[in-house]
Every structure is written in structure tokens, then in C-alpha cells.
Symmetry: C2
Subunit: 488 residues, 2 copies
Amino acid sequence: MDDIDWRPDPSLPIPLYRQIEEFMKRKIAGGEWTVGMKLPSQRDLAAAFQVNRSTLVTALEQLTSQGYIAGKSGGGTTIIHHQPERQEEAPPPPNWNAYVEDGVHYPNLPTIQTINRMEFDPEIIRLGTGELSPELLPQRQLQQLFAELARQHVPLGYEEALGSYALRSQVSAHLKTIGIAAPPSAILIVSGSLQAFQLISAGLLEKGSAMLLEKPSYLYSIHAFQSAGMKLIGLPMDESGLQLSHVERFKRQYDASLLYTIPTFHNPTGAIMGEARRRELLQTSRRIGLPILEDGAYEELWFDDEALPPPLRALDMHGQVLYVGTMSKVVSPGLRIGWVVGPQPVIERLADIKMQTDYGSSSLSQAAAAEWFGAGLHAEHCRVIRRQLKERRDCMLRLLDAHWSDFATWNTPKGGFYIWVTLHAEISMAALFERALKRGILINPGYIYDRSAKKQLRLSYSYASFSEMESSVRQLAALIGQLGNHLR
Amino acid sequence: MDDIDWRPDPSLPIPLYRQIEEFMKRKIAGGEWTVGMKLPSQRDLAAAFQVNRSTLVTALEQLTSQGYIAGKSGGGTTIIHHQPERQEEAPPPPNWNAYVEDGVHYPNLPTIQTINRMEFDPEIIRLGTGELSPELLPQRQLQQLFAELARQHVPLGYEEALGSYALRSQVSAHLKTIGIAAPPSAILIVSGSLQAFQLISAGLLEKGSAMLLEKPSYLYSIHAFQSAGMKLIGLPMDESGLQLSHVERFKRQYDASLLYTIPTFHNPTGAIMGEARRRELLQTSRRIGLPILEDGAYEELWFDDEALPPPLRALDMHGQVLYVGTMSKVVSPGLRIGWVVGPQPVIERLADIKMQTDYGSSSLSQAAAAEWFGAGLHAEHCRVIRRQLKERRDCMLRLLDAHWSDFATWNTPKGGFYIWVTLHAEISMAALFERALKRGILINPGYIYDRSAKKQLRLSYSYASFSEMESSVRQLAALIGQLGNHLR
Ligand SMILES: Cc1ncc(COP(=O)(O)O)c(C=O)c1O
Ligand SMILES: Cc1ncc(COP(=O)(O)O)c(C=O)c1O
């Protein structure tokens, strides 16, 4: 126990004593600090953690009251939790930490784990969050819809492998409105599009397969594919989305099996691929035999009335495209409802794996989603959301113009949630992330989406309120200024 | 296209022409039969499929009306779906079937795929299904609960990584009633216990790890662990559950990382591990350093008032046991809500992977589950279910006594859903499965749960109605008699 090389992190908005308490519990629960062990003196512990004596005492009091440790009358403090029956010969509890390190699945990046955790702090300003603000969610309509469900016979049993037929029919009709023809038998209901990616990597791709994708991309920020042993090969982008010039060479060079793309309101750059490039991509994909995985998460969130290019899947005459959609970005992420559209053998294979994975998605969510589309609530809701998101985008652009134009450039997204900002000069993004967090502002650094994107960050106008946007864009400008000073 | 070695299966209750239609669509969609190909003559096709000409014609008419094929004026039929722009140089659509075969995840056994599919045929008698009959589900109470939710503010956003705090608090209180002490921070909400197993195999176990488990076991019937590269090592059982004599040797021999057990109302045998053996198992596990994964799916479904032995987790003083529970077997499988209880680093690791896998479980289901426990509906519902399941068990036992005692033996389960039947002589279980299916009866052959269980089948009294039990137990007796005749 002598060499404690961990310290609480004052940049986190969690009290230091709580961080210490959690750290020590982990050591004990994980079997690293075993029962009967004596703790170092309070003075030494406080020094090791680099905190005040009083902070340490508060942490120890917490642990004492929860029965992890006890003061001995002769002085000193001892670990007493999980008291073994016969101390002398009792082996330590299993070393779960070794198990935690053994799994084949990669942990999330620390920055992402912090983001995931901090997003549930009600005080934080979420300037990076890829989610509709609660006030934009159709709370009222969904409450009504639940009342409606309460009058019906909600299915409570296990669902069909493809998902409830009622929902698949509704999704089929919905897809028609964006130009995609898909009968219910070509649709698999999933628990959000993220699950679709998991199923595809487990069910369709060989271990070690390479997948081409935009760089930066949403997919770099999760480890589903990497953990399944996939290699992700980034394609450069311009304002019209991924550049086609590298596709063929990379496909050959890496023997790629699939091309993943977010052609409409790309995450994180907000870019949209024009129709000409879509057609060219389909042609290339066909010629070189590289199927496409199209992510349409933001498809419906356009701001201007000019016609959007159709989804790749709508232009696909040859079964080259697997299409993934979701209710998360327009209706409600909490429903955890998405869908995959594709050739029947693929859909059935994915359905079989889904049965092995979780026996299908929540029937309650499926019933609510079917009711949402069936009651015709979707089109009107989209209209409202588009107008409000556009106002939010405009507000964010005005703020950036006013406060950031000296040191950064950005795009003007025509839909979706994101503005991709590039600073003129490189600063430590990790430091910016931490200093912003200290001030209660959560941002998404570009390196989450592309390790080499050191001057970028993704701002989102979908979540924070107008006044939060204002105050945080200002504060960030100051922080960036401080961090960049030594560069000037 | 000359050598079609597939035939429609007359034992399936799907019309032959539909099976042919599906088969041909798959060939076309999968790129095996390419556009422009001429089909063999109707006579030859009918012969290849071994069906009447009229059956074949019906199938071809279906395909024609859906635009897959067209009759040529000069005679003959051609595949026209996915008409390429320039026929001469157009490559075929991607060969999705190759992708389907490439995935790292194993497909379900054909028998299990058939079961999964046939369970949704409303005409079928489900004598093997591990699910409460719809009339036993708390439909009325849940409808009321949805009405209640409609008056509240249902969370619609992404949920915390561990799951909603409200639900974790309720689960914590619920676990206390079965003797398990777990604060909300030691609980991870999952989309059914099956997902917990997926997360554990991805997050805690090295590729190629060995896991000890009962033989037979529920876990052999899904491929989650095998697909993740785990080796499953079966331990022999007696009436008191898994035998301990082999645990230590197998742990050493296979370097096992985990022992999976269903100590209470085991699936498929219905066995229950006595308290003495539980304590001994914990001691052994501790001594040899083999943590336990305890599956408590049927824990609450006891029929008699004698005290049940406590869960292993309740007896565990040293953090050796990961406990998994679910709402599926008692309340509603469609909710897809379960939980994992364990040491904090393990729970946090699993939560991180869950975020990468599906961003959490349906908030709607979580809200409904929290409301279910919070409203105090659980205890009364359990009382009702136990009484009804006991009556069903007694009915099934009487039927077996009357019709099966000449050729089989079985146990008397004290809870849960299942009776594990052993025939005196070996017959072809695959043939019994098929012949029963032809008569509209779905059974679960023992080999799903243990490849060597050739004389066993799992009967369930939880799903079929009393009259369905009666007629199917009778019919099965006759079928088993026929299949066994040549053995006598
Ligand atoms: C491009 C894209 N696809 C998919 C998702 C995942 O959404 P869900 O799993 O909630 O459907 C997101 C969410 O951030 C996204 O940005
Ligand atoms: C022993 C056991 N565990 C777990 C499950 C899976 O239940 P769920 O994923 O619905 O919680 C089952 C279902 O058959 C089971 O029998």
C-alpha cells in the first residue's frame, strides 16, 4: 500500500473526498487492499493523495460509516470489510481487476468515459452533446401515446426475431417517405443503431476485416468495431463528404469488406454528400465490389427547403447498401429503437444473432414507436424540430462570429446537430477539455473522432440552452486564448 | 443453377410454394442467381424441388408479381430483379451470402432457429417454451402502470451508464427480499440477463477462456459465449445440482476463469442446489480462486412453503459471486429488463461496454420496471403466479403418469417451468421434433442443452393451456411409441 500513485483530480466537479472514498473502495472491493491491512497514518495518506488533512478525514469517516474500515483502539486504521471466517488461512477475494483487464472488449477512451459520466451532472453545460435538448423532445405527444397504449393490449412476451410486425410495417411506410422501398421482411428492429453496428460486426465481418469510413467519424468514438477486431481505415473528406479518390486504392490495399458512411449531416463535421457524388460512390462500390453501410441518423433534420439528395439506399438498384436508421436523433434516444434495411439473408442472419444477444428489443418501446408513426405524429414533430434547430444553429453561428473568428474557422451546417470548428493554431485539446470541465462546460474534442484532429472540436447546438451557448462560447474563447498564448 | 440440392420441408407448417418462393428470393437477393439468368423449365424445377407442378407455378407467380422474374415471349423464365443499366459489363450485386458466412458469430442451431420462428405461429402448441403463458402475465396491472406513466414525466433521453437510478434503487430493495445486499452503485441494469452474459464474455473473459457450467445447461442453447471464443466445460449433475467432485480438477485441467450456475430451478432440469452444497461450492470456489456467475432467473418461482436455500450471492462474504437476475420469467420478457450485481470495478467495466453496445436499455422499460416494484405489485403477483404454475405442474405430472410411465422417467420440480424427461430407450429426437412439429406441437429436445442428451427432452408447463398439455402429451406418447418400435 506504500506507493499510491493515484491522486484525486481537482478538475472534476466531484468533491475530492468522494474521489478518495471511491478509490479506496475500489482497492478493497477489487481485492487489492485486503482485509486486516493497516492503512498508513492520516498524515501520510493526505500527503500521498496531495489533499488537506480534513479532506482525508472526511473520506475516512465515509468509509468507516459504511463498514469498510475501522479505527483500532491502539491507534491506526484497518480494513475490515469482508471479514474472513478464519483470518490465517483465508485466501483473498477473487482479483476482479485482473478480469476487468482481461476482457476482449476495449474500454472507452478516458475522455469519453468522462463525457458519459459528466453528462448526467445536472449542473453541467453540455456543449458537445449529440442529443436533442429535453425541451425539443416530444414529451407531451409521447405521454398521450402512453395513455393510448394503456388502453391497448401491450405485448409483454418475447418478440419475433425481426421485431414486432406492427412496427416493421410502420417503419416500412416511414422509409417510403424518404425514398426507400423496403417491405417489413427486409427490416430488422434493433435497440438503437449502435446495436446494429455491433450485430453487423459480429455477424457479417470476419475477424480482422477492414472497413473504410470517413475521417473523422462518429465510429471512431466508440469501440464496438475495434473490439470486434475490425480495422478502421479513414478516408479524407471535403465539404461534399468523403473523397472518392482513395476508395478503390484503400479497398485493394487493405482488402476492405465494407464502407461505412454518414452521407447526410455527418457526425462530427455536419457535411452532406451531394447527389452526384452519391451516384459516383454507388458506381465505384459496385465496380470494385465493396458494399456500403449507410448511417441515416440525421437524415430528416434538414433546415432549408432545397431538395435533399436521396439516401444511397434509395439510389441503390443492386442490393449494395445496408441502411441503418434510428429514432434517437429526432424523437427520443431513450426509446432505443432503430432499424436495419438490407437483403433478406443479411437481415435474417442479423436477426439470429440479435436473438442470441438480447432476445429482441423492448416490446414496450416497439409498441410506443409503432404508435408514434401510426398516429401520424412524426411529420408535424419534424417540422417543429427543424425550425427550432435552425434557430439554435443560427444563434451558435452568431456567437462564434462574435467571439471566435480571430482564432478559428468553421462550416455552416445545413442540418443535423454539429459545427466542426478548426482552430488556427494547435493547443492542448486535453487541457482545454479539462479547464472547460472545471468551469462546468462539457465539450467534445476532435481527437475523439480522429486521433490526428488536434485543432478541432465538435460543438453541438442541439442541447444547451441559448443562454448556456452564449456564456460557454464566451468562456471557451477566453480559455482557448490562455492556452494559445504561448504559441503567439 | 443445375444442381439445386435444396427441397422444401413438408414437415414445416409453411406452405411449400412459400418455401420455394423464399428460397428463390434468397438466391437472387444474395447474388447467387444473377439477373439475366434463365430458369430451368417448370417441369425440371418441379422435379428438382420434388413438388407438384401446380405448387411450383404458384411460387413462380408470386415471384413474377413481385418483379423478381418474368416469362419471356419466346418461352422460358428469366431473372429480372435488379436490372443493371448496361447488362454486358455489369458486375453482380455483392455476394451477401459470403458475408453471412464470414461473421465471427455462430448461427443458432437449426433446431433452435426453427423453434424461434415457430413460436410465433399462433396455431402451434408450445410444449417446450420457457415463458409464462400470456394469461399468466400481469397484463391488467401493467396497463394500469402505463396509464400511471402517462401522467408522469417519462425520461426520453439517453440513460446513465448503470441504468436509471430510480430502477436501481427499486432493484436494490427487491434484492434485499431474497437476501442479497446490494447498493444501487453495485447494480447494472441490462436488457435481459442474456445481455449480461454477452457483456461478461466481452468485458471480463479473455478470448479462449474456459467456463465451467452444469451439463445440461441453458447456456448451451445459445451461442453467445461460444461465439466470443469461450470454451464451455460441463459438470455432471445430480438431484442437488452440479456435482462438486469435478470442480477443482476441471478448473486446473482447463484453467477455467468462471463457473456459471443456475442453482435454483435449473434450466432445463428443474433441479435445486441444497444449502449445504451451496456453502461447499462457495468454499471450493474461494479455495481454488474460481469466481461464480449465478443466474437467478427462476429464484422466486417456488411452489412449496419450505424455506428455499438463499442465493449464493447472499452467502458470499468475499465478493466471489456475480449475480444476474431478470424480470423475464416472473413479470414480462418483453420488458427486456435484467440486472447484474457485483464488485464495483466489474460493474463499471460492464457498464462501459454496455454504453459501447447499445447506449443503455430502453428508458420506457426502465421506467415501467421501476414503477412495477415501486407500486408494490410484485409480491402479490408472485403469489398468484406460484399458485397457478403449481397447478400446471401437477396437471403435467398427472398426464405423464397416465401416458408416459411405460417408456420414460422424470423429476418433480419444486419450482420454475420445466420437467426433464428421460426416455428408457434412445430414439431419434430430431425425428420426434419434426413429427411433433408436423402435428403442430413444438418441443425442446434435450440435445439443445447437452449434445449427448439423446434420450432427454425438456417439457414446460408454463406456456401451453391445460387442454393443449393434455392433447400434446397424448400425441407425443404415440409418436414416441412409433419411433421406438423398431427398438423393442
Ligand atoms: C451518426 C450516428 N449514428 C448512430 C448514432 C447512435 O444512435 P442510436 O444508437 O441511439 O440509434 C449516433 C449517435 O450519436 C450517431 O451520431
Ligand atoms: C436460466 C436462464 N437465464 C437467463 C434467461 C434469459 O432471460 P432474459 O434474457 O429474458 O432475461 C433464461 C431464459 O430462458 C433462462 O432460462
